[in-house]
Structures are given as structure tokens and as C-alpha cells.
Amino acid sequence: MSSYEARFKVWRGDIEGGGLEDFKVEVNDGEVVLDIIHRLQATQAPDLAVRWNCKAGKCGSCSAEINGRPRLLCMTRMSVFTREETITVTPLRAFPVVRDLVTDVGFNYTKAREVPAFVPPEGVGPGEYRMMQEDVDRSQEFRKCIECFLCQDTCHVVRDHEENKTAFAGPRFLMRVAELDMHPLDAASETGLDRKRTAQDEHGLGYCNITKCCTEVCPEGIKITDNALIPLKERAVDRKYDPLVWLGNKIRRRPSESA
């Protein structure tokens, strides 16, 4: 087992200000960046604030930016860097900082509340749900989401434009809308809730310019753009910009998603 000394720059500070602090720290075989942050805590900076939980890429707590790229600290192996490289670790830069590597991710929880929940179908009791695997596949992909919020962090719509935070739900929650709209038993439309329309009118789907950074950073490899956002845009087009569909619905007087 070989170990070496790596150079790190870690952002330390809080909302009042702060900066990158230099560290030299031991690195051993097979370690990930989170191990190094923990070693800093145990040996050099006991009050270095960092969020983490499972350390196995399953909970999505340890989101940060490493060399400027949004990543999970626990899933970034040290072996992807050269030994000479200085590794820079900063908090997520789209959200307000709390302290050191910890940011206030409340934006995401606010947005989560704004997406109307699953509407159970009327007259189908617990235990009577029948769904085919091919019908749940799509939504299951989106439910792999571990809510690390890296997609929300990297999305330039809010990262570069604080003022868009009110109007735009972000990739994670637009994907949630898509998930519910593709759920084979969601009965939202029966209650008068048109998820396709609200995606655009209330959750800011139009702000997305499909530049795919959300997909690039997703640690779960979910094809957010191709499988959730673009299909959702197409569904919104069905509703708002397709006169043929509009006419068809007028004539047949039934929503097309009952298909």
C-alpha cells in the first residue's frame, strides 16, 4: 500500500466571507475525497464542517465541488487525480453557504413542496394496484434519484441567476413532475390537475434550455434531460402548442393521457 502527501485547497468560511485554505494531507490507496476531508477533521481542522452520511453514494449528502465540478465527495476517488495536482474543494456554489463545505439547500425542499403529490386512483384499494413492469420502468428510473441536488447546483438557470429561483423548480423537481405524469396510476387529471401544463406554467419548464449539465453531473446516471425534461417539454407541447391534439381533445372530450 502506497501513501503520499497531497495538496488540498478547501474553502472555509461562512456567509460573512471566507476563502480557500491550503492543507497538506496524507492519502492512502483506494481513498476517496471524503476520506481526506475526514482526515483533515481528525488531524488538522476539527471544526471543518462537512455533510455526509452513508459514504457509499446512496444518500446524496456529501455534495460539493471538486476542482470546480459538482460531485459527491464519497464517490470521487483520489486516483482520478495526479499526485502533483492541487485539489480544490468548495461548497456548492448555487446555494447560500452555511459554513465551510455546508450549504443551505432549503431551496430544494421548498420546491419539493410545490409539486402536487401522487393522486391515488379512486376505487382502487391498497393491495389492488396492478401495474406492468414496462409501465413503471420510466418512473422507476427517476426514483433512483438520491436528492444530492448536484443537478440543481449545476443548472445555470439558478446557479447563474438567483432571481430565477422563484420561477424555476430545477431539474430534480421537473423530473419529479415527469415521474408523476408517467406514473401508470396517478389520477391527477381526474381531479383537474394537468401536470403537463403546470410543468410549464408553475414549475418553469420553459427556463430549461436542455444544455444537459444536470445529466452530466448525476451520480446515479439518470438521463434527466433525455428521459424526463425533453419528454415533459413534448407533453407540454401536446397541451399548449399542438392544434391537432387540441382539436382532437375538443372533439373527443377526453384527456389523451387516458390512453
Binding site: V157, M182, N209, E234
Partner: protein
């Protein structure tokens, strides 16, 4: 230092607009250069109004040819719908459709938003714009009509297929011929179809819009096939872009006499 975006006052105080250490600028720069090259080339060729037909080959930029000023092509794709009043290059009449299709394509949008408009230039690299409204307003809200361009792109691809079939004649319109140009056309049409069918709108129309795949097994199969193509949409967008330009350039070379189409049989 306290301005918008990543320098908003509440965020971690880091002056640099990004801290990426890799060559993040390479991809958008290459994209911009590639697209620009195509725009320059196609503009020249579309306005040239010459050297687009060398029997049996017609340049895909000029097919179908819809004005009276088209070069005559025997049983070729020239239908004089526009009559004699059209004096400009007939390419302009038809190119609007493939152009619109590609301009509103979900992949090309990503490519030029990143490459030309730097919105964003790369992931986690701050964009240089003060305001951003995405595709919520005029003119970008018109990106939503991609589907209609897809509808239009299908017959165009059909006509190009027809052109490819005609490329099995020789310069005297005798069937059973095949030249290097025929191969160029074959490759091109395969890529054009693959690109057209891999379109996100197509994926939606054939099955993506359904809520219950299990009730529509045929559409589900189709959706899966289109999905496989769709996963390579970017690759197909580029290869078909290059192939269509090459097909045109090949016709140009033959028509201008710079090159003689080698005949295989």
C-alpha cells in the same frame, strides 16, 4: 464582487467564475467551429444556384427543386410549384425545412446555446449574461414547434431517398448503374433517416406520450427502437450534417467538372 450568479452575496465567497481545471472550453469551441464551418459552407452553396445537378445526382441542398429556374432533371425531384416569379436560388425554398428541423432540434439547441451563446459555456462555468429567461419568451418559445419541423423533415427525407434510388441510374438515365456518388448518397440517406427518426419529438409521438405501454405493445416496441437511436442523437446529428455536406460537395465536384464520378458497375 457582490453581483449576480455565483457571486451572489449569500453564496460562498469565491471570486473566480469557475474553478474547473480541465479543458472545459474545448467542447464548446469545437462545437462552435464545426457549426460555423457548416453554416459558411451551406450558405455559399445555397446561394450559389449552380453546380447542383450532375445526372443522376442532385445535391440534397436542392432537392426537391420547387421553382421554374431549376435545372431540368429527368424524372428527378423538380416540381415547379413556385412558377417563374422566383428568381433566387431554389435551394432557399426547401432548405428552410431541414434548417428549421435542425435549428429547433434538442441536440443542436444544446450545441449552439453552449457553443455560440455560452449559456452556459460548460457545466459549472458561469455564463456571461445578466438575465436569462430560457425558452419562456419570444423568440425562443418557438423552439416548441420542433415537432412540425419533424413532420416536414419526414417527406424531405423521403424525397432524398427517392434521389438515392435515382442514383442507381447512369448519366444517360439507364438503370443498373452504381458510382461512387451512389455510395455517398446511400450513406447520407441512411444517416439522414437515422437522425430524423432519432428525434426526441419522434420518440414522443411514436410512444413516449403514452401512459400505459402495456396496452400498446407495437408502439412500445417502436418507442424502444427509437429510444435506442435517440441515445445516439448527438452522434447522428453530426454525422448526418457532415454527410449531407459531403453529398452536396460531391455533386458540386462532379457538376463543376473538377472530378469524374468513378463508376463501379
Amino acid at each position: 464582487m457582490n453581483s449576480g450568479g455565483v457571486r451572489t452575496r449569500t453564496r460562498a465567497a469565491i471570486a473566480a467564475p469557475h474553478l474547473r481545471t480541465d479543458r472545459w472550453w474545448l467542447a464548446p469551441a469545437a462545437t462552435a467551429a464545426g457549426l460555423l464551418a457548416f453554416v459558411v459552407y451551406s450558405t455559399w452553396r445555397a446561394f450559389a444556384n449552380s453546380d447542383y445537378y450532375a445526372a443522376p445526382y442532385v445535391s440534397p441542398f436542392y432537392s426537391p427543386c420547387l421553382a421554374e429556374n431549376c435545372e431540368p432533371m429527368r424524372s428527378g425531384p423538380n416540381w415547379e410549384i413556385f412558377g417563374s416569379w422566383w428568381g433566387l436560388s431554389p435551394a432557399l425554398l426547401i432548405l428552410i425545412f431541414p434548417l428549421g428541423f435542425r435549428l429547433t432540434c434538442y441536440y443542436y439547441r444544446k450545441a449552439y446555446y453552449r457553443g455560440f451563446w455560452a449559456s452556459p459555456p460548460a457545466c459549472a462555468v458561469a455564463e456571461p449574461h445578466k438575465k436569462y429567461t430560457g425558452e419562456t419568451r419570444f423568440p425562443l418559445i418557438f423552439q416548441n414547434i420542433h415537432r412540425y419541423f419533424f413532420y416536414a423533415a419526414v417527406p424531405v427525407a423521403g424525397i432524398l431517398t427517392y434521389d438515392t434510388v435515382l442514383a442507381f441510374r447512369d448519366e444517360h438515365y439507364e438503370w443498373g448503374h452504381m458510382g461512387l456518388g451512389t455510395i455517398v448518397f446511400l450513406v447520407n440517406i441512411v444517416l439522414i433517416w437515422a437522425y430524423t427518426l432519432s428525434c426526441h419529438s419522434c420518440r414522443h409521438i411514436v410512444g413516449g406520450k403514452l401512459k400505459h405501454f402495456s396496452k400498446h405493445p407495437v408502439r412500445y416496441r417502436t418507442w424502444q427502437l427509437v429510444g435506442k437511436l435517440n441515445a445516439r442523437h448527438m452522434l447522428l446529428a453530426w454525422t448526418s450534417l457532415v454527410s449531407v455536406a459531403l453529398a452536396d460537395f460531391y455533386v458540386y465536384l462532379v457538376a463543376s467538372g473538377a472530378f469524374d464520378d468513378p463508376r463501379l458497375f
